[in-house]
Amino acid sequence: MAPASDRPTAPVTASDLELLRKFEPVVCYTKGEQFFPTDVDHYVKESSLWEHHPDGRDELMVKQGDLTLEKLIESRPAEFGAVRYIRFIEALDLAESARVLADQAVLRRKLGHYFHAGIGRLARGGILPRLLDGLFSLSFLLRGKVSAATAAAAELDYNEIFKEDKQYTYYGRVTRQNGWTMLQYWFFFCFNSWRSGFYGVNDHESDWEMATIYLYEEAGQLIPEWAAFASHDFKGDDLRRRWDDGEELKKAEGSHPVIFAGAGSHASYFRRGEYQAEVNLPLPGWVSGLIHSWNKLWTETLGQPAMNTFHIPFVDFARGDGLRIGPGESQTWSPVVIDESTVWVSQYRGLWGLFARDPISGENAPAGPMYNRDGSPRGSWYDPLGFAGLDKVAPPPQMQQKLTDNCAKVARRQEELEKLIPEKAAELQEKGARQKGMEGNPHLAKQYSALEKEINSLSAEVRNLRREESENSALLQSLTRRLERMKSGGQDDPRAHLRHLAVPDDPSQVLRFDRAAETWAAISLSLLLFAIAALIFFAPKYIWVGLVIILILFVVAESFLRGAFVQTVGRITLILAMLTALILFFHFWKWVIIAALVAMGISLMYQRLRELTG
């Protein structure tokens, strides 16, 4: 743990741009990445502006070539339910699609943009998640989708933009809240090619990613304390790492946090590696309820390890073996300072790319830094502290004072209680004595009853005060201990705030899958479909039994390759046993109940007789 004095500092008088430059991150991309942070001006110039109306029409507002940042923010009334969006790639016909796909291949050969997944994501999950993955792929037939040709055209266009303006841009924002100074770095990409380029979940036009550095002020200097990177599946406290957590938060030249960006997704990670992202299926409420009940029975009653079957595994490759941008690297940043007065930030609430009509939004483009897709304000913009769970955390110099204040407040209350409790206790005893004196006098029954109520109420009050005193005593002890530790310079565990730590796949674990497992993962789903087709053709009479047997055989074969045969056989047998038990209960419920009652009777009798005989 490095003491705060070892940290880089910047004077509080530094300009926003100087602050941003002082702590700007180094971003490491994965080899094969096609899109890097660029500026919005060139992107907008290459795009058109559209409006999707609630009746399903898409209306061209400003055509490609005419669109500028000024035209983007022009006031245009729209009806409720309308979606305004930028379109980077115009609709392509079949011939154009073929041409851009061919050109993309040529470009990749020229630039050496090759990506090898290595251990595929399909080999990292079981056969049921793979089956769901197949359904997920088929779901694109029903959902809106960004086509492969659009992705290819975006790649070609981005390269043209980059040829004109060879810069890597970030949009920096400096904001201050509750004693913290926050440096936000917003990165804009022309396209998110996670699905088409890296076997991920989705593609969409445009992408906004963000990292924030949290600084506190001490002796006229700003000192970094936390860094938070936007990432899939994580929120609040789990997004941030403390500056002195060197294992989690790498730094270049002492003051520049290092980000490992996911290939295609551009999600930010603290550590290089391959991360498993999971997409949970959007199941109806009653199905989720059933699954929850089943999981409870499975884990709590049957004592089995939890099964997370209804998710689809995806891999986010944040290898950091490709281009690196930032201080000390061959490629450096071109910063642009933004805030609420930057009109394209605050006045354009639409999407920054194609509205693909995807009901679950995965393929729709995101909105700008300040807004969500529905035009509502984005939490990370208006509440950057709450975004990383820091709204409850005071800057270190204030923390000690706040703790001292807390101690004083609790101590004051303890003093009050020390006086109040004896007073109330004495009053209670006095009333008790009076009540005792009334006993045996039926004509005082009314007063006796009223006094009893008073006594009960006062007794509860005294009990509560004593409990409060006892709790406060423990609290005061704990606060004082912490205060003493802080005064002596002791630090908390830098990861004490984390509930879920993003951990890359363990390479040794990944290597466990050999070539056979990979090949099986690639072909098993197709083989399963062929087997079902053969079953329907050759033995339609036994379709349901056949299906179950085929599925079991596939799962067992899978378990052999994954080294989980024992566990799988146990699980399958248990499920079959539960089904059989249900059948038996259906046929013999009367006998089962009789047997259960007799067994309970014998057991109770045995226990009671044993108690009786000592």
Binding site: L302, G303, Q304, P305, Y542, W544, V545, V548, I549, I552, F565, V566, Q567, V569, G570, I572, T573, L574, L576, A577, L579, T580, A581, I583, L584, H587, F588
Partner: protein, 151 residues
């Protein structure tokens, strides 16, 4: 020899005895199923009176012999598993669980398509649930003491 002594010293939970009894019941049922087809075809009274095959197809006698032989193999396998199980061997747990799984599939197929054998079904259910008990899994080395998860 020392290893055997060590395994013999392990405490045997009541569930192990229940499973052993269930295997015993299944063995008796299977034994009946070994003789039943042969009795039905009067093999014990009149001896072998016909051929087992008619061309490439099994005759009724052939079918009875095949059925009888299958159940004989199952019975013998049951005895081997039972011995291993009583000696608290890990392989016997795995084999028994797999065997119970297969037996459950056959029972379910029989239930839905031919004639249900409720005694076999009930025995299998008891064995499957008893094998799943944490203490039983622990004693056979299937579940570790430290993490409580299956291997």
């Amino acid at each position: 020899m020392a290893k055997r002594k060590k395994s013999d010293k392990k405490k045997r939970p009541i569930a192990v005895t229940i499973i052993a009894v269930a295997i015993g019941v299944l063995f008796l049922i299977r034994l009946y199923q070994v003789f039943e087809p042969l009795i039905r075809n009067n093999v014990f009274r009149t001896g072998m009176t016909g051929s087992l095959l008619a061309g490439w197809k099994l005759t009724a006698l052939g079918s009875a012999f095949l059925s009888s032989a299958t159940y004989l193999v199952l019975s013998l396998a049951g005895i081997v598993v039972l011995i291993g199980f009583l000696r608290l061997r890990r392989w016997s747990w795995v084999l028994l669980m797999a065997w119970t799984g297969v037996s459950l599939i056959i029972s379910l197929v029989d239930y839905f398509f031919t004639r249900a054998n409720y005694a076999v079904m009930a025995s299998n259910v008891i064995i499957a649930f008893a094998l799943n008990i944490t203490d039983v899994q622990r004693i056979y080395g299937i579940r570790r003491d430290d993490d409580g998860s299956s291997l």
